[in-house]
């Protein structure tokens, strides 16, 4: 009996240790970003003192540098605009597509669904070279429109697949009832299915937006001028003067960009998992 | 083969809420088939799970084979359990499923084949050993679950509503097989169900539970004919016992004891009576005082072997109270809607319950008018 209790306690301690260990390992860089953002420069670059705490009073000088002397805000703006446009295009195309695949195409629907999902696996690092030529020939080099054009190529497959899961979880009897009541299939889709799926559509919006902010290769390849860059590329590439990295401001930029996305993600993760499991673990 | 005993067993899930199981005291007999019967939420499954070791009691003791087992994990209690969903391991074959307990208890590998074959043959699933659970029908899966349970030769079997996932037709034959199976192996068995027909058919004794409290423990005959309170009286038997409330007593009588009086008046001999009644109605032929009640028929259900008449009493102080009667199909008189007939109940069949406590009391002098 005592052995049972000892086992139980040992198990709990290990459990707790695992959780704390992983949490620290995974979240530490963000703590580091946070503290680096607000540390005075001489505190930041001093090797002799404890780096984990504020040894001198915190400062806002890195933030000031970031907002006033760099194009960070411009990059944020570019990212938001591109994100919004890409979300719009993605929703426009993937919501109907997902519905069609979930409801209207029978066995082929299943195959096409998987097919569309597989296109998500074609990597940008294979396509970016030929695409750069295509973009150039369209006269879109160094323009944010190139990104608006190209990004849906991976946001659409991802969104379609996720939305398929959401739509499948809506009982088809609802639409049948609506059609008996006089709506056409498309009418039922517009007036019934879409309003019910706001949660799913919102989730897909958030995830599409985050896919846009995460993208690196295309932005790096297609955009060359600093003022038109996206935040994911601008920060690591342009916040450097010569060979000198302005770490305080760099960390500030990372922190400010990451946190809102993290909060949004956390709110919508459960819905994402629900959609994912319906689609994949079926 | 062991005796399971609980002493003051209690389980409270949420502080401040009433317990799921409250102060249950019971003791099985060796080799008996004991049924925990009750509606959902009565605590029967929680009680079973505590005996299994899957839930920790809040208070009280559980003894198996005379020893307190509260702190022992399930695998050290020498029990086996069949879950409502059977819980077969989907990635293992039937053979591996049945062999799993042997593997877990470190039984020598050479013995596995022999023991699995023995268990499989007891349940008639020898041909299915190489299949996976998803390829089996509901009835086959149930048998695999049973084979997995007996292969370790446990002291106690615990079964959690194993028949409820089967089709109605399959359920009857599965029930019969289970009963015979248990008689053959003779292991003490505790069986949880909400189906009172199952409980009556299978149990040597029945533990009737309601809201975590034991209402009565007894043989099927005892709980049916001598219910300890109004809950037991109405839970067993379908349609349930007729209950009429007076000031301080409740009087009850079963539908099958509430019969047309003309039936008996017209019959001239007991043979004629006997030919018109089923065995369970024979008690009526045994004379003695009877209570005469007028009965207006509202609705008739024809069920083949019998008819169920739903109606209300006419006259008496219980006028307009709904009552039910069950009459065998051998009685051919018509009972039209809204017709009024003379019915009787033998006085010996009346059960009396205290109105406040709902518990059974001695027969009292009782006015009907």
């Amino acid at each position: 009996m005592v052995q049972g209790r000892v086992r139980e306690i040992f198990g709990k301690v290990t459990h707790w240790a695992v959780l704390v260990g992983f949490s620290v390992l995974l979240a530490f860089p963000f703590y580091w970003m946070f503290i680096s953002t607000f540390k005075r420069t001489n505190d930041l670059y001093n090797l002799k003192i404890n780096p984990f705490i504020f040894n001198e009073k915190p400062t806002l000088e890195h933030l000031r540098l970031l907002f006033n002397d760099t194009l960070y805000l411009r990059w944020l703006g570019n990212t938001v605009v591109v994100g919004a446009l890409v979300v719009f295009i993605t929703l426009l195309l993937s919501v109907p597509a997902a519905y069609a695949l979930a409801r209207l195409t029978g066995r082929w629907g299943q195959r096409l669904g998987i097919g569309i999902f597989l296109t998500y696996l074609v990597p940008p690092t294979l396509l970016f070279l030929p695409l750069s030529r295509v973009i150039a020939s369209l006269g879109l080099q160094d323009s944010l429109w190139s990104l608006v054009l190209v990004y849906p190529s991976f946001t659409i497959p991802f969104s379609t697949w996720l939305l398929m899961g959401f739509f499948k979880s809506i009982p088809p009897e609802l639409e049948d009832a609506a059609m008996v009541d006089g709506l056409t299939r498309f009418g039922a889709f517009l007036k019934l299915v879409i309003p019910i799926s706001t949660s799913g559509i919102l989730t897909v919006t958030i995830f599409t937006f985050t896919l846009v902010t995460q993208e690196f290769v295309y932005a790096l390849t297609f955009i060359s001028s600093e003022s038109r860059q996206m935040v994911g590329v601008g920060v690591p590439i342009f916040l450097v003067r010569g060979d000198v990295y302005y770490w305080g401001s760099l960390m500030a930029a990372c922190l400010i960009t990451s946190l809102p996305i993290a909060l949004l993600y956390d709110l919508f993760l459960d819905r994402f998992i629900a959609g994912f499991t319906v689609g994949a673990v079926k | 083969m062991a005796i399971v005993e609980t002493r003051n067993l209690t389980k409270v899930f949420k502080e401040g809420q009433p317990g799921a199981v409250n102060n249950v005291n019971l003791q099985t007999r060796e080799g008996e088939f004991l049924v925990f019967l009750g509606p959902s939420g009565s605590g029967k499954t929680t009680l079973l799970r505590m005996i299994a070791g899957l839930e920790h009691p809040t208070a009280g003791e559980i003894l198996i084979g005379g020893a307190v087992v509260n702190h022992l994990p399930p695998r050290e209690r020498r029990i086996a359990m069949v879950f409502q969903s059977y819980a077969l391991y989907p990635h293992l074959t039937v053979f591996e499923n049945i062999a799993f307990p042997l593997k877990a208890q470190k039984v020598k590998k050479q013995l596995h084949r022999q023991k699995v074959d023995w268990a499989a043959s007891l349940l008639g699933i020898g041909k299915l050993l190489e299949r996976k659970p998803r390829e089996l029908s509901g009835g086959e899966r149930q048998r695999v679950a049973l084979a997995r349970a007996i292969v370790r030769e446990p002291s106690v079997f615990l079964l959690d509503e194993p028949l409820s996932n089967l089709d109605a037709k399959l359920r009857a034959s599965a029930r019969e097989e289970l009963e015979q199976f248990q008689k053959r192996i003779g292991t003490t068995t505790i069986y949880v169900t909400h189906d009172q027909v199952e409980a009556m058919a299978m149990g040597d004794r029945v533990v009737v539970l309601h809201q975590g409290i034991v209402r009565q423990i007894g043989t099927p005959q005892e709980v049916y004919d001598e219910p300890a309170d109004t809950f037991v009286a109405t839970f067993l038997g379908s349609p349930p016992m007729n209950l009429l409330e007076a000031e301080d007593v409740i009087v009850g009588f079963r539908p099958e004891r509430f019969l047309p009086s003309e039936l008996l008046a017209r019959a001239s001999s007991s043979e004629e009576i006997a030919s018109k009644l089923r065995a369970e109605h024979m008690l009526l032929a045994d004379l003695g005082k009877r209570v005469a009640l007028s009965f207006r028929v509202d609705y008739v259900e024809y069920l083949g072997a019998e008819r169920v008449l739903y109606g209300t009493l006419v006259g008496t102080r219980f006028a307009e109270k709904p009552v039910v009667s069950r009459i065998p199909s051998s009685i051919v008189e018509k009972f039209e809607q809204n017709s009024v007939h003379d019915f009787i109940v033998p006085e010996s069949e009346l059960k009396f319950f205290d109105r406040a406590t709902e518990k059974r009391i001695e027969p009292k002098v009782f006015r009907w008018q």
């Binding site: 979240a27 090797l47 597509a97 069609a100 294979l126 996305i261 | 399930p74």
Partner: protein, 291 residues
């Protein structure tokens, strides 16, 4: 409009768009790789397998192939083991689970490049906080501190570490979804049958989530093998091409070097792996449907 026609009309735009933006460059990649296109060039001449030959002869390429394999395999092993442990730890409810989940998701949620830059600062040759700790614990001497991004073996370790760090949350989430799909009475039946903690985990739980583990690993392999961001930001492929992976090599050759043809040829080498993974994923999907 009939159901079929409506269905086609509704998904055709999406499929056409995707096929266009993916299919066209995909085909072009093959065409360029057998041509002589340079960034500024106008014409096109077919050169057969010349690009491939030259690429295969190049020691840089061969080194990159090796680096890619090491990078991918190393990352996958760490992610697989780590996310399994973490998912098992997160399975049951406990106080603070929401907070832990938030913290654990951060690496995946933050843009890759920004997380990588954060690590670059942590691994900085002069100011690395890791080195500070090691020195403070007297495990290394101040002037002997490891150059995390400057020495070949350490650089590969760092790059693998950062990529694992970024992929761990995603894998954990997938495995967690699989774990919660296991019906509650299966581990209970195992407990009654006599299985202890380890036996239940290795003989029941993990085999039951094997299909999900497959999916997570396949995803992970694709993301890692085709990723250039982490390498680009941390080491630019250095020191001396010891962490150069195929995608980053393709980038340097094709964009910075201007040789689109050779760059395309290099990135074509990603295709066999993609095909293999796609095939395996379809097999897993097919098998789980049969269940």
């Amino acid at each position: 409009m009939s159901s079929r026609k409506l269905g086609a009309a509704m998904f055709l735009p999406a499929i056409l768009y995707v096929l266009a933006v993916i299919g066209v460059p995909f085909t072009l990649a093959f065409i360029y790789s057998v041509g002589d296109v340079k960034i500024a060039s106008v014409g096109y001449h077919f050169v057969g397998l010349e690009n491939f030959r030259s690429v295969l002869r190049s020691p840089t390429f061969r080194r990159s192939l090796f680096d890619s394999v090491v990078f991918t395999v190393g990352t996958q092993i760490i992610v697989l083991v780590g996310s399994t442990i973490l998912a098992l730890a997160l399975k049951e409810k406990f106080r603070g689970r929401g907070l832990v989940r938030f913290l654990i998701l951060l690496p995946w949620v933050a843009p890759v490049s920004l997380g990588a830059i954060g690590w670059k600062w942590i691994l900085d040759s002069l100011y690395s906080v890791i080195n500070w700790v090691l020195i403070a614990m007297h495990l290394v001497r101040p002037y002997d501190a490891p150059m995390w991004l400057g020495e070949p073996v350490l650089a590969m370790m760092s790059v693998i570490g950062v990529e694992s760090w970024r992929l761990l949350p995603f894998s954990t989430v997938i495995l967690l979804a699989g774990l919660t799909a296991i019906p509650r009475d299966i581990p209970e039946a195992a407990a009654v049958d006599g299985a202890g903690f380890w036996r239940t985990m290795f003989q029941i739980t993990i085999p039951m989530i094997l299909p999900i583990i497959n999916v997570a690993v396949l995803f992970g392999v694709i993301f890692t093998f085709t990723d250039m961001t982490v390498v680009y930001i941390l080491t630019r492929g250095g020191p001396y091409d010891t962490t150069q992976v195929l995608p980053s090599l393709a980038f340097f050759t094709g964009v910075l070097g201007g040789d689109l043809a050779e760059g395309a040829a290099i990135s074509i080498f990603l295709v066999p792996l993609l095909v293999a993974v796609a095939y395996l994923m379809l097999r897993v999907a097919h098998r789980s449907e049969v269940t």
